[in-house]
Symmetry: C2
Subunit: 460 residues, 2 copies
């Protein structure tokens, strides 16, 4: 049963499992205690820290273990901002950071700080120049991911780090998606990661703070982990995290090349096999194991369920799969289609046959979901007073507004306008994205009672 | 090799180990995902929450899992204080709470809040009346432990909860030490606990917030755990924590009675076997498995090391065993002797023979440490101008100032004064405690160049 959502959580690596079991027996005591069980725990903790620091590329005393990647980001951003309070209260992030970063930024803004979100291009990549231009004399901290968690695009960390160095601004790199593949190069100041992304156990994040970086922890005082991660350490999980990081790194180059070829196959074949698909993200500068595509006229949740019935576990950034019913902020920032979105992230060891079976199943599954929704062939739509077709999709959820737009489009003359009325958040993204994919002209939007009117001109 | 520090961390319960192993295979995926691995993880998480809520005595939707007991306290106190900000910014805690509570209180005070620390008696017990008297119209939150982690004294939670209810103040109960033995009775509003105290794995704390209690999480927004505990959940550890809590509760009544008898034996025998010992804490209203005593003229760290060499793992609240070189705030609040302090906390399954062997070894070990320090027989001390013996212990660490006081005491006439000059923090506590134990009169302290002068009058 192929599990293709390694970017959410990778199955436990055998080395992690083995190390965890050993450490359950040897590492349950308090490493701060003076007796033999405590000393044994301390030895394990020290060894784990050395191994993890070696993989990160920092000194052991620069690295602490946190309860998760999210907590590493929350605490790391708060600590770095507070440590640089004298410099100012301006924070720079990219628009496609993990939600833990954006939510930290929101807290900072609510507390009176200022935040600049650097935009990305249609591949999800930050421009190093645009990032550098966002740095100001009062910038306390800059945050940039090493690679994007939803579309796999690798960010220009080294160039941004150089710009930050010149501006005297510390750079925090969120390396959650890439650390299992390789160390982060360039002159970063802080780095965070999450063990269950590389096959380590859940319950372990990493926070590295380079010597000389101003840092003021914002949680209550606690003696553990250099005062940077309060609470009793989950030592067996920490030991397993460090051991598995070393193990996956040993296999990383070979496995990355293998998975990269499988992802290339998906990137090439999906548009051939499935009509009206947009494969997103940078085709070359990307994570080896991750690919994302969106299917026009498809309900993401229905697609996920249909794939699940066929035995494939994938995730989606479509609005219907989110508890808040808003599309992924990453897809939104890229300006790409959000409906019928599928993220495939291959765990280590994925067999080529599994990928082939996925490619074999996908076209039928998409067709089935489209069929159930009545995806476009000929369409409705009533001429308005100004020779403009108006489609009332108010109250209808993604992907229905785009399906109704496409249906109505057949009735519009070349040069004519079609306007869709919608109160669905995804329509704002998906109607322009549909125009881009179809080579039609997106005219714009205007508010109307109960929603928004999106207008498109037929070009061909 | 007897491990007698269960109050720091209990060895993993066999049920916890078994549940953890099973959940490593079934519970590594993201419980928020829609595919089968995610649904399986969700089922495990829901079942663990139900089991833990049942043991706590609350509804499953009132309970979240945190990365540690410390984080449960930090986040719980911050959230409860913020939720009641309109009521006021006054916080009530007891003087013997866990450092995670006192450090949270310090953060609150630094941010402009006010804090009242309710004193305890010589047994470490809070007076319910004194606690009630500390509640004010602007009190936002009251915090009280169910039982003390250093001396085992059980607190009057039900009475304090009733007083809080009458005052309209929510009560947070830190149940870290007692939850494995029994649920917390009385009308608490919030409750915290820590799994590795009951034989669960490290990496799991509990935070229960009753429906209707105003609560505003202070960390960045996160959808996990009702928005109250950010980060990917450590599901295998959570499953193990819940399963072991249920298991230890089933054995709790019988095992508590058995360990209570063993602790009674220690409480009775230690003062018979070792001269100049103070057994502290409430002899009856106490945790079943925990006892603490202090030995005059003994260096706590040397005592711990000597016991460790004999194979016994215990902890200590003496200043020399703390990284900050200050004595335990609990012993300080109780006004008892802090030097030569030993906490014995028996894990489940401790054999009577292990306790007997400890009692057999202890007198020799204490005598050895006392011998090495030159504990009192005859002493030094030079008469001062006013017929007062002055002992200069400046620059000497606990327990030397008390040893030198005791040595000099033999030279003082009945009714005469002995003054010890000391710059050691522990002397402020241990010289009055020595007087109490010896039936001598503690006159008082005054500042002198380089330290403090502590004066004692010989009564007999």
């Amino acid at each position: 049963m192929p599990y293709f959502d390694a970017a959410s959580a990778a199955p436990l690596h055998p080395v992690a499992r083995q190390a965890l079991l050993a450490a359950l027996d040897e590492g349950w005591a308090d490493p701060a205690r003076l007796y033999r069980e405590g000393r044994r725990a301390r030895l394990l903790l020290d060894a784990a820290r050395e191994a993890a620091a070696d993989a990160v590329g920092c000194r052991p005393d620069e690295l602490v273990f946190t309860p998760s990647g999210t907590r590493a980001l929350h605490d790391g951003i708060a600590g770095a901002l507070a440590g640089r309070r004298r410099a100012g209260r301006h924070l720079v992030v990219s628009a496609v950071e993990h939600s833990a970063v954006l939510h930290s930024a929101a807290v900072h803004e609510a507390a009176g700080g200022t935040v600049t979100e650097v935009a990305v291009d249609r591949t999800g990549r930050v421009g190093a120049g645009a990032y550098a231009a966002a740095l100001r004399p009062d910038t306390a901290l800059a945050v940039l991911q090493s690679a994007n968690h939803e579309v796999g695009t690798v960010q220009p960390v080294a160039e941004v780090a150089e710009a930050c160095r010149e501006a005297g601004v510390p750079l925090l790199v969120d390396a959650a998606q890439s650390l299992g593949w390789e160390p982060v190069g360039g002159g970063w100041s802080l780095l965070t990661a999450s063990a269950h992304k590389w096959g380590g156990p859940s319950g372990v994040g990493l926070l590295a703070v380079r010597k000389g970086v101003r840092y003021a922890p914002q949680h209550p005082v606690d003696e553990r982990e250099s005062g940077r991660a309060p609470g009793f350490p989950d030592l067996p999980a920490v030991v397993a995290a460090a051991a598995s990081l070393r193990a996956v790194r040993q296999e990383a180059a070979e496995e990355a090349a293998r998975l990269r070829a499988l992802v290339d196959r998906i990137r090439a074949r999906v548009p051939e096999l499935v009509p009206d698909v947009e494969v997103v993200g940078d085709p070359a500068r990307r994570l080896p194991h991750l690919v994302t595509f969106s299917c026009l006229y498809v309900d993401g949740e229905a697609l996920l369920h249909a794939l699940d019935r066929e035995g494939f576990s994938v995730s989606s950034g479509s609005s219907c799969t989110s508890s808040t019913l808003t599309p992924s902020h990453v897809l939104r920032a890229m300006g790409v289609l959000t409906e019928g979105n599928v993220r495939v992230s291959l765990p280590r060891g994925t067999a080529p046959e599994e990928v082939d079976r996925f490619l074999g199943v996908l076209p039928g599954v998409v067709a089935e979901v489209r069929g159930a929704l009545g995806a476009p062939a000929a369409g409705a739509g009533s001429p308005s007073g100004e020779g403009e077709l108006v489609v009332d999709s108010l109250g209808k959820r993604c992907p229905i507004p785009v399906i109704e737009l496409a249906r109505a489009f057949g009735d519009a003359p070349v040069g004519g306008l079609v306007t869709v009325l919608s109160d669905d958040e995804a329509a704002r993204l998906d109607i322009p994205a549909w125009c881009e994919m179809r080579g039609q002209e997106y005219v714009g939007e205007r508010p109307v009672p109960g929603g928004v009117a999106y207008t498109v001109r037929r070009r061909s």
